[in-house]
């Protein structure tokens, strides 16, 4: 398959791994931001191809993992109302809130539907004028344009029964929060290629300048990731810190301008709580005032919900790259994808789930 096979080519990958080994003279800690990248690393065993001392730690880029518990609880609350149809991306249905999840809500009679695209939710609203349709609009900059488009369409169609429960997060403020942390170990970042496809690269220039940290925008296939690692190692070994783009087949410097425009039209930047990290200033998106009629928080007057989470798992440290999933005492024992104690075990993009799915035999032996 074109644009795929060449990026999974074993010979190219091995050649890159050799170059990385040759270029590495000392230990380095690198972080891939995106959960999709973590998934590829685990699935193909990319970390096993790297020289000793070159460590990959896994970042907070799993949208399901970092969606706050409060949002899930609100979604379940809405879903259980008889006049509501709750529409969500499939992965969110298994994420545990404080006492239930959307699958369980469905088994109690809630009308919860899975959509591949948020505009499907608009169609459902249009076809069910007697019901209130709520779309659970979560994600990074990658899902934001499509989610924004749903609100824009609903407004243009004059729908009064469509709203969105919004929990949007932004990557650059999260990287900044990691970098200002005293416990930060990360010396170079693989930035998320799909986020940059939408947003372009300029935001990452600021991070490179402010923290003198090398950042390489990377893709999602094994060869992409190895190439991005090589580019980071070459910078680190030569004392450089600059922004480079490995994922040139998808990412342009300015990004996708129409996508940015629709985001601008519908959303504005706001403070945002991240599950596993806490509140990060200006790290999220909320609906603009002119879209207030489509804001489920306002439409249903949900108010501020404060949920106390018992400190059981170590997802905080995992999502910040301070610990590996396998450092957790309950990993694979009491915490599994069937019975997740923490969000990174829920989504297939979560670091803990990726380790569990692909790597637990190594842990056992």
């Amino acid at each position: 398959m074109k644009y795929l096979d060449e990026y999974r080519d074993e010979r190219i990958a091995r050649a890159l791994a050799q170059k990385i080994a040759a270029a590495t003279t000392q230990p380095w800690v690198l972080m891939e931001i995106c959960g999709g990248q973590t998934h590829t690393i685990m699935r193909y065993g990319i970390d096993e191809l790297l020289p000793q001392g070159l460590e990959l730690v896994h970042g907070p880029g799993c949208p399901v993992c970092v969606t706050p518990l409060e949002t899930i609880d609100k979604a379940i609350d809405l879903a259980l109302r008889p006049d509501v149809i709750l529409v969500s991306y499939g992965d969110m249905l298994r994420v545990p809130g404080s006492s239930s999840d959307l699958f369980r809500a469905r088994s109690q009679g809630a009308d919860v539907r899975i959509a591949y695209s948020p505009t499907e939710a608009v169609k459902i609203a249009s076809a069910n004028p007697g019901r209130k349709v709520v779309f659970l609009a979560i994600g990074f900059e990658t899902t934001a344009p499509a989610n924004a488009m749903a609100a824009w369409q609903a407004k243009r169609q004059g729908l009064t029964n469509f709203s969105m429960l919004v929990s949007h997060v932004l990557v650059p403020p999260a990287i900044r929060a990691l970098l200002v942390s005293e416990s930060n170990r990360v010396q170079g970042f693989i930035a998320p290629g799909h986020v940059c496809t939408v947003m372009g690269c300029s935001e990452y220039e600021d991070l490179v300048r402010d923290f003198r940290v090398p950042i390489v925008v990377g893709g999602f296939e094994p060869v992409d990731l190895l190439e991005a690692v090589l580019m980071l190692v070459q910078q680190l070994e030569s004392g450089q810190s600059k922004l480079e783009n490995q994922y040139v087949r998808s990412v342009s410097y300015p990004g996708n301008l129409p996508a940015q425009q629709i985001m601008q039209e519908v959303f504005e930047v706001a403070d945002q709580k991240w599950r596993g990290i806490g509140k990060i200033p200006k790290s999220g998106l909320r609906l603009r005032e002119k879209y207030a009629a489509f804001d489920a928080d306002q439409v249903f007057e949900l108010g501020e919900l404060m949920v106390e989470e018992p400190a059981e798992c170590i997802s905080a440290e995992v999502l910040q790259g301070l610990k590996k999933p396998t450092d957790c005492p309950v990993f694979g024992m009491r915490c599994t994808p069937d019975n997740p104690l923490g969000a990174p075990m829920v989504s297939s993009e979560g670091a803990c789930a990726a380790y569990y799915r692909y790597r637990r035999h190594a842990v056992a032996s």
Binding site: Y44, L69, I277, P281, E309, E312, D338, P340, L341, H361
Partner: protein, 353 residues
């Protein structure tokens, strides 16, 4: 800006939610939740030696004749899809469950749960398709039942079929018989059925139409048994896909199974669809494929026999049974690294068959 170290203290995780109090859709996924239902609800109440084997069919003895019995319900949506429909699927599925025990399928029952308002011509088409599939497979549908539920209480049409067949002397196939050194054979490409259904249901279009592989496998099985009796077990990897089936075998035989990623047959269009939808084809349903665990010395002869049959033309040896990692399926990737091929935790595709 608060430092991240400070915010760690705020961090936390939810407590586990036991999946015990209600039936969830995932209990029908063919994965771990389904296995839990069998283990926690059905087996304790109904246990007996034939049931406890947990194979696709029970083999019982009546006056010295070994009979295979199996039953399966079909709730696929849409009712009609490229390569088949719920009627042909209901025949093939049950014929295959008999065939996986090495049985010659003879008779089927058919029970229909119809939803009020189902267009009569759809029912006619489904029944005609069942007749055609049964005739082609050489089985007869000899008894049946019909129930009608109120509008909204069904999904158009559900079908249950039960099958009876005879097991030839000396043929004992069971998922607990895999031994280290055995080879894993797969009769053809993975994921065709699940992707055909999904594409139809979601209105996805590809350059070529992806067709379900729905087919009756008993003649392929018969050809294999003619060549060698050194077959330990056979399974058709339906819902949950190849990975769930192999995990069941690994667990029931307490062996490890190591797959070679590059040997697993996969159609380019199915692969493309899976890439696009973020699905792993190893978890996608098949309805006309079989997995056989066979003695190493018989593997090549069996592979040739499979390839001579229309339904096994793309058969391949995809892995080896190992002593290490009992109960786990692992995969050697193209990169020479090893990863786990886990059992499906919940639904990858809800209600595929």
């Amino acid at each position: 800006m608060p430092s991240a170290t400070k915010t760690i203290a705020e961090l936390s995780c939810p407590t586990a939610l036991p999946a015990k109090d209600r039936v969830l859709l995932g209990h029908g996924s063919g994965g771990k939740l389904s296995a839990e239902l069998v283990r926690d609800i059905f087996l304790p109440a109904l246990n007996n030696p034939a049931l406890a084997r947990l194979d696709d069919q029970a083999v019982v003895s009546v006056n010295g004749q070994r009979l295979a019995i199996t039953t399966d319900s079909f709730v696929v949506k849409p009712l009609f899809f490229p390569g088949g429909d719920i009627g042909s699927l209901a025949v093939h599925g049950t014929v295959n469950d008999l065939a996986m025990g090495g049985a010659t399928p003879l008779f089927l029952s058919a029970a229909f749960i119809l939803e009020e308002g189902l267009p009569m011509d759809q029912l006619q088409r489904v029944v005609a398709s069942m007749h055609q599939a049964a005739a082609a497979a050489g089985v007869e549908i000899v008894t049946g039942d019909t129930k009608v539920v109120e509008k909204g209480k069904g999904d158009g049409l559900f079908i249950n079929t039960t099958g009876v067949g005879v097991v030839p002397d000396g043929v004992v196939l069971s998922a607990n018989q895999a031994r280290p050194g055995d080879k894993v054979l797969l009769s053809g490409s993975v994921g065709d059925h699940g992707i055909a259904i999904l594409a139809q249901r979601e209105g996805l279009e590809f350059e070529t139409e992806i067709k379900s592989d729905s087919a009756a496998l008993h003649t392929l099985v018969a050809d294999m048994l003619k060549v060698s009796r050194e077959i330990r077990c056979m399974r058709d990897p339906t819902r949950g896909g190849v990975s769930s089936t192999l995990n069941e075998i690994a667990q029931q035989s307490q062996v490890g199974i190591e797959l070679e990623e590059q040997t697993i047959p996969l159609r380019e269009d199915v692969r493309g669809a899976c890439e696009m939808l973020g699905l792993d084809p190893l978890y996608v349903a098949n309805e006309g494929k079989l997995i056989a665990i066979v003695a190493a010395e018989a593997a090549d002869a069996l592979l040739q026999a499979m390839r001579r049959h229309r339904l096994g033309a793309e058969a391949a040896i995809i892995g080896t049974v190992k002593q290490a990692n009992p109960g786990l399926v692992t995969m050697r990737t193209a990169f020479g690294t090893t990863r786990i091929v886990d059992m499906l935790a919940g639904d990858q595709l809800p209600r595929i068959c």
